[in-house]
Symmetry: C2
Subunit: 198 residues, 2 copies
């Protein structure tokens, strides 16, 4: 079977989510300077939600220009106290970020945009709220030291599907959104639009 869509993301987690759901997909990571785009959008007063949505669209449009067909772009951001928190660049930054989120509620926003023939045909931003336990610096330092290789590509410095669950007191919202893609909404669109069987 030909692929249903091209995933414009290098994220192994997103690829696994789509493949686990039984979709045939192609993958073509988009080269977008995310940090520059993010900084420019925030300087213009964009909200974290706007940033995630714009980056998802940008990635999809960029890949679609090469591949054609149906292309899925995705982006996830973390918002705490109205501010956007970026991926940690090193273990020390991860420790600082997690201690900043400790005892607090933050939001993960996962945007997805489907592009066909260069134009967006569907978009959705999933939102989940996570509350961390009050964590001791020693615990967080040991956690980051143990898991850095896995968490370095994760918004917020944790993977909920691994030891990151140990940081949480409460989780509200869709698991797939937390993993980085609002899968259920995407699948429902693909069924309704006749792209996949349902």
């Amino acid at each position: 079977m030909p692929p249903v869509l091209t995933l414009a993301s290098g994220s192994a987690t997103r690829r696994q989510m789509l493949e686990a759901a039984g979709l045939e997909i192609a993958v073509a990571a988009a080269r977008v300077d995310e940090e520059s785009v993010k900084a420019a959008l925030l300087a213009e007063g964009a909200t974290p939600r706007d940033v995630a949505d714009a980056l998802a669209e940008m990635k999809a449009v960029k890949v679609a220009a090469k591949t054609g067909g149906l292309v899925l772009g995705a982006d996830q951001v973390l918002e705490a106290g109205g501010a956007l928190i970026s991926k940690p660049e090193n273990p020390a930054e991860a420790v600082t970020q997690i201690l900043g989120l400790s005892g607090q509620t933050h939001r993960l926003l996962s945007a997805a945009v489907l592009v066909r023939d260069g134009a967006p045909v569907w978009r959705h931003v999933g939102v989940a709220r996570l509350t961390m336990r009050t964590l001791s610096p020693g615990f967080v330092e040991a956690y980051v030291a143990r898991t850095w290789d896995e968490i370095r590509h994760s918004v917020g410095g944790y993977q909920i599907e691994a030891e990151g669950i140990r940081l949480m007191a409460r989780i509200e919202g869709d698991h797939f959104t937390i993993l980085g893609l609002p899968l259920l909404e995407l699948l429902n669109y693909l069924v309704i639009s006749g792209e996949i069987e349902g």
Copy 2:
């Protein structure tokens, strides 16, 4: 490190959830005639929630009598329209069950009981609500034929972490509860009671 607890369940999914969270566990599946116990409890007027909770405790107590220490029992039931739906025994039954749930909302209840020195010290029943899309018989028959080896041990005849997501229109509630164990609540108890670091 010695195991934190013994999991009184042969479920690979529950084992993987606990290990992914970084817990050292032992495993000792409990031999309980679940169907007989379930039938007896329902005949006495027990609710699906009572059944899941009683089976989780029974498994934990049975294993604890042999192993000692902290033992975790778990059970999951599916409730639709007030009735308890059991695991399908064959593909035809799975098709019938899924078509019965099609277009409807059902609940998954995941009970967990921790036993120490033969007595329960903690218990929780997590509840999630799932709404299936309106599915065609042909789609469901093909789905069951394709996935029977994976879904045969799953309450409801689906695995949300695999192609089962394709059956759903809406999911409300905790992902770990859907997988069969209220992991977050369990971990929080283990931290508060000093069994694991936090």
